[in-house]
Symmetry: C2
Subunit: 281 residues, 2 copies
């Protein structure tokens, strides 16, 4: 049974659109793109389409794939210092020759609407809401809210090992008093942590890792990650069988992207207010 | 069966002492103290004693308990701007009228040897080791190393809800490929997460929360928190019965403090090297 993400998404987008219409200036979403792989290009296109739909400018700064790390850092510092750029994102992943952590450290946390810089991730951890929360964790919380699930007293299992996705998710859910288990590829018996879970979040990139027999019928499955094998998109959860059985699951494929982008717009609006209306939380 | 923390601690201290002896300048440990409650005062005394033992200067800046938040922030900013102060700590907890998160945001991450500022906590999360790791998580890792336990394939359960202790612990253990569950006071059935755990870390502040029947005989119990009730120190784990039964457990009372302080010295040495020898990681 697919979670009606279209309903969630469209209600969020119409709210954002309305809010942007009421602003004095049309906000600009700056995107720095280095690695032009097919997935990133498709993602960027979607960001452009949705930003435009919401009434924002979309400004893409394309850099050469072979750009030296030092040069990329200089470019980011230009963005940090330019008073006309109030926020921006650096599209990940970056090419192999670049140290992603160094880049994340370079991004000015006050302009980091992706919420990937150490300071913003740390603020999620210590429950300080003056920063920007990464977009994927943000929409997962939105879905949980939409389903009217109170995380208190709930067991939630997260399967995955991508730092910028599941650690903030785990932290946000912990902040909301859920009991959270994080599994990875070196978990002895993943089933022992999924069979009693009220919510399972998959972010592992391992196709068909979660099957129907591993969960309860009233479990909610939120599948974040996908892998492309032989031109086919494969998700972490065995979507078809879980869907048919009536277990609530987020849709595939690319179902989650519009929600992630919606959260980016939300963060951008927060940044706009900080920069232009002087709202300080 | 008590984990021989004295052996661990003394070996760490003799290493630190030796390293400090080899330095050109005697480092200073600056401590800002606001709330002079009995536990903090005792803790500060221990920090002073151990810093002196290791050959460091100990400099205490005592502030009035009723200091306005704004004034405290100004004082911290003075520490941030003073080139003679390369690092410092603000002793927690702070009085109720002060917003701790605002204070943590004010501490310069490069001088924050306690590792409590958002940027440093965030660096633990995204596995960026250029920052300072909070001291309690650091010594827990030391104990696990000392016991020669490889966190890979292990189930580790953390019980607690103090942001600056258990979230970084959970993150560090996740970085080391452990499967980590974090329970809190709103966990439906804590036993279901302790009975299969290889390591249980208690940081809840609820006396006798963990009893012998909730764990395996080969579980390692690391008890971090204690509560004082009627002048008696009570720990989260039912120490006596677990100890007698032969399960490995960290000692009480105050057993963990010297280790925490040792980690503070370690962070201070890291800061010293960054400031004086120009080591940049």
């Amino acid at each position: 049974m697919r979670i009606d993400w279209k309903k969630i998404t469209s209600s969020i987008y119409s709210k954002i659109k309305k809010e942007i219409e009421s602003l004095d200036k049309k906000p600009i979403l700056w995107v720095i793109l280095v690695w032009k792989n097919p997935v990133s290009l498709r993602y960027i296109k979607q960001k452009e389409r949705l930003a435009t739909f919401c009434g924002m400018w979309f400004a893409l700064k394309q850099l050469d794939h072979n750009i030296p790390e030092k040069k990329l850092i200089e470019t980011i510092e230009e963005f940090n210092n330019d008073r006309n750029v109030s926020w921006y994102i650096v599209q990940l992943p970056l090419p192999k020759h670049i140290d992603t952590k160094k880049i994340l450290r370079t991004i000015n946390p006050n302009k980091d609407v992706d919420g990937f810089s150490p300071e913003n991730v740390g603020k999620v951890m210590i429950w300080d809401n003056t920063g920007f929360i990464p977009c994927t964790p943000l929409w997962i919380i939105e879905i949980i809210k939409y389903l009217d699930i109170n995380p208190e007293w709930k067991n939630i299992t997260v399967i995955g090992k991508s730092n910028i996705v599941w650690k903030p998710i785990a932290a946000l859910l912990m902040n909301a008093w859920a009991t959270v288990t994080v599994c990875n590829s070196k978990t002895r018996d993943i089933r022992s942590f999924t069979s009693g879970a009220d919510i399972v979040i998959c972010a592992a990139g391992k196709p068909n890792l979660l099957t129907l027999d591993m969960i309860k019928m009233d479990t909610v499955v939120i599948d974040v990650w996908f892998t492309i094998v032989d031109w086919k998109i494969l998700w972490d959860a065995d979507f078809e069988n879980i869907d048919i059985a009536g277990v609530q699951i987020t849709p595939v494929p690319f179902g989650v992207w519009p929600l992630t982008v919606a959260m980016l717009m939300k963060n951008t609006l927060k940044a706009y207010k900080k920069a232009n209306i002087g709202i300080k939380s």
